[in-house]
């Protein structure tokens, strides 16, 4: 059984929570005591419906009061074929940073479109965020089909509009499904109301969709999280570099380069799961041992000497500003990429990106909450990276304000 992480974005009005509620409810993933609670709540908020499925996802008091999603909530369900992690994220512009949080770990985006309204500013915003974050697959779910008489023509019209927009912003693989979450049409079960639709219902689609990136990046990348040095008598000389393999694979005997120092050595042993192994691959937690005794610490990158990443003190990036306080050139920043941290400064803001058209706008040197911008960042120590499009873990970073300790921006290296 494998794992699929996807995100949805929007508000109760868009039918997002109803859609998730329907997925969980119809796939029998909700326990009876939770349904009881919901029934009680649905009555107490004066809804006519027996159960308000939206109440399943909005977990905070303020969200239930206002009927909006403020922060990302994670939901879990599984079928015979897959385990699913849903990041249920807000749709409002003012909570865009929370949407980034939920979307950043997703392999699939579900963009909800109201069949009556077609593509809106919100659709565009969510699609652009998916494009910036390089989500491998986007599914456009055209919902509320019951309110357009299940019209195939309307569906095709929206598909064609969206394809045009997707091309504009560089989204590669997009699929479309018509549905009515409220009535359960085409969510878990195929619907006779949509007999003209020949594809899979949503759940079957989610169970089978392939989200592996076709342009697979296979260069071996590893970053040191922690140095294990027991310093006991029996293990006096033991020194292991602990971390997860970020991409590619490593084998005993491989020639490696440590960055940013550029020193070279050979892998003398690899441990994984308390055993010694001959090789290890992407996503595996390991402890690497090197033939030579070198100065290596947390945040250093270890790669095969045959395929080096870029190592530089400046990066060109697209960032999303996430702090309530706007960017102040005088503030001290730290850049963190996986476990690597160094002092950083935004030296130039080339342009801002319009979050509804993806057009570059002239920069006025300001950066406010939820704004996207293309920037140049100067670092105190050299970073080793691959561009984000190829390698997420070495190409993504956050900026931390040294004064407040807040995460003030997320960035992808171009």
């Amino acid at each position: 059984m494998d794992l699929l992480r996807f995100f949805t974005a929007g508000n109760v009005d868009d039918g997002k929570s109803t859609l998730i509620g329907r997925l969980l409810y119809d796939s029998e993933s909700i326990s009876t005591d939770v349904i009881e609670t919901l029934t009680r709540q649905s009555k107490s908020t004066g809804e006519n419906a027996a159960i308000d499925l939206a109440l399943l996802t909005d977990g905070l008091r303020a969200e239930r009061e206002q009927g909006i999603t403020i922060d990302v909530a994670y939901k879990y369900f599984s079928t015979q074929n897959r385990k699913f992690i849903i990041a249920d994220t807000p749709g409002h512009t003012q909570y865009t940073r929370n949407m980034f949080t939920g979307a950043s770990t997703a392999q699939l985006a579900i963009i909800l479109v109201d069949a009556r309204n077609g593509i809106t500013d919100q659709t565009k915003r969510h699609s652009i965020i998916s494009a910036v974050l390089g989500i491998p697959k986007v599914l456009v779910c055209i919902n509320k089909m019951d309110l357009v008489s299940y019209s195939e023509e309307r569906f095709n019209e929206i598909v064609s509009d969206y394809r045009f927009f997707a091309k504009l912003i560089g989204l590669k693989t997009v699929d479309f499904i018509p549905a009515s979450a409220l009535n359960g049409d085409n969510v878990v079960h195929a619907s006779s109301n949509l007999s003209w639709y020949k594809g899979l219902p949503l759940l079957s689609y989610l169970e089978t969709v392939d989200v592996n990136r076709t342009d697979g990046f296979n260069e071996a990348r590893f970053q040191v999280q922690y140095v294990i040095r027991p310093q006991t008598e029996a293990l006096h000389d033991y020194r292991g570099y602990a971390g997860n393999i970020l991409s590619g694979s490593f084998q005993t005997g491989d020639e490696v380069t440590i960055l940013p120092s550029g020193l070279t050595s050979k892998i003398s042993a690899i441990e994984s799961g308390l055993k010694e192994v001959a090789s290890a691959r992407k996503n595996q937690p390991v402890v690497l041992h090197l033939k030579d005794d070198l100065d290596i610490s947390r945040g250093n990158t270890i790669v095969l000497s045959s395929a080096l990443p870029v190592t530089d003190k400046t990066v060109e990036a697209t960032i999303c500003w996430m702090d309530n306080q706007e960017f102040q050139p005088g503030h001290k920043l730290l850049l963190q990429q996986s476990s690597f941290r160094t002092k950083a400064a935004i030296r130039e803001i080339y342009s801002k990106i319009d979050i509804h058209s993806f057009q570059d706008l002239e920069s006025n040197g300001e950066l406010k909450l939820n704004e996207l911008a293309k920037v140049r960042i100067q670092l105190a120590e050299a970073i080793s990276y691959d561009v984000f499009e190829k390698q997420i873990q070495t190409g993504a970073f956050i900026l931390i304000n040294e004064n407040t300790n807040n995460t003030v921006a997320a960035g992808v290296i171009r």
Partner: protein, 299 residues
């Protein structure tokens, strides 16, 4: 094809190592329940042959199941790791606090006092816990690195953005971070992992005969010295097991025939009631009971 348990395990080990790399004085909160036992297993995989870069900390409510305490001591002896125990009794005595009243006097609220005092005493800057997002809807909202102020409070409306697997553990002095490495695991995932890794558990997770009283909600509570029972309460002996292991005053048993981990997995697959719904009296108070407790410094 990679198994989803490998992926969850890799994520948890990564988070544990981030704690080791980012904090000066971390701790692992150990309750003796299955989730914290899994955390210890994951820490072995993350740090052996080295010692854990943190002690195990047990906030002892005094209302424990003896089996859980015995298990705790065995585990500490076997791993050779350092255990710190701080007792709610002592907090009550020192601060002249009132113990809870009623038939089932829960020390849930008082436990938060002891936790915050312990954090202050040892100046812990990070506390690792076994909470999972599938347990409860306020937990579903919490970050993996959850920053708490000097009063231990969680502010759900002002959480830091948390992107990719980049964890920002930078805090000011006096603040601390609660870290949840198994955030993305469900109850079933935990049991599948226990089975795969052959992890040992306290015997009360498996079926046994126990003298219980039936509560008004129809829950089975072990008959024990901490309850204030009266003549209306009738004792019954049932075959039960525990789905969660918390205090004897607020954790209910479920009727079960499950002898083995396999039996339990089959039972959970068919279960129609959620883990906390089946066993916890502390969540039944209101829809926002957990959100309110967390805002007050609770785990």
């Amino acid at each position: 094809m990679s198994d989803y348990l490998d992926e969850l395990e890799a994520e948890a080990i990564y988070i544990l190592r981030e704690v080791a790399g980012q904090f000066d004085r971390p701790a692992l909160l150990f309750s003796g329940g299955k989730d914290s036992i899994c955390l210890v297993h994951l820490a072995l995989k993350a740090f052996r042959p080295g010692k854990f870069p943190f002690p195990l900390v047990h906030i002892d409510t005094g209302h424990n199941f003896q089996e859980a305490l015995d298990f705790r001591d065995r585990l500490v002896a076997e791993t050779g790791e350092h255990l710190i125990v701080r007792k709610v009794e002592d907090t009550i005595a020192k601060n002249r606090l009132q113990d809870a009243r009623g038939k089932f006097p829960s020390r849930n609220a008082l436990q938060t006092n002891t936790l915050l005092e312990t954090i202050e005493e040892f100046e812990f800057d990070a506390c690792i816990g076994g909470a999972r997002r599938d347990e409860e809807k306020a937990r579903a909202k919490e970050r993996v690195f959850s920053v708490r102020d000097e009063f231990g409070q969680w502010d759900p409306k002002l959480q830091r953005p948390e992107l990719w697997s980049i964890y920002n553990g930078k805090i000011h002095k006096g603040e601390n971070v609660r870290v949840f490495p198994i955030s993305n695991w469900t109850e079933l995932d935990v049991w599948n992992y226990i089975q795969r890794e052959n992890i040992q558990l306290p015997e009360i997770y498996f079926t046994h005969e126990r003298e219980c009283v039936l509560t008004e909600n129809g829950q089975l509570m072990a008959n024990n010295a901490f309850l204030n029972l009266d003549e209306s309460d009738v004792s019954v002996t049932r075959k039960v097991r525990y789905r969660t292991v918390g205090d004897m005053t607020c954790t209910a048993a479920v009727e079960s025939e499950a002898f083995t981990v396999e039996d339990i997995i089959a039972e959970i697959r068919n279960a129609k009631i959620s883990e906390r719904g089946a066993t916890r009296m502390d969540d039944r108070i209101s829809e926002a009971a957990m959100e309110d407790r967390k805002k007050g410094g609770y785990f």
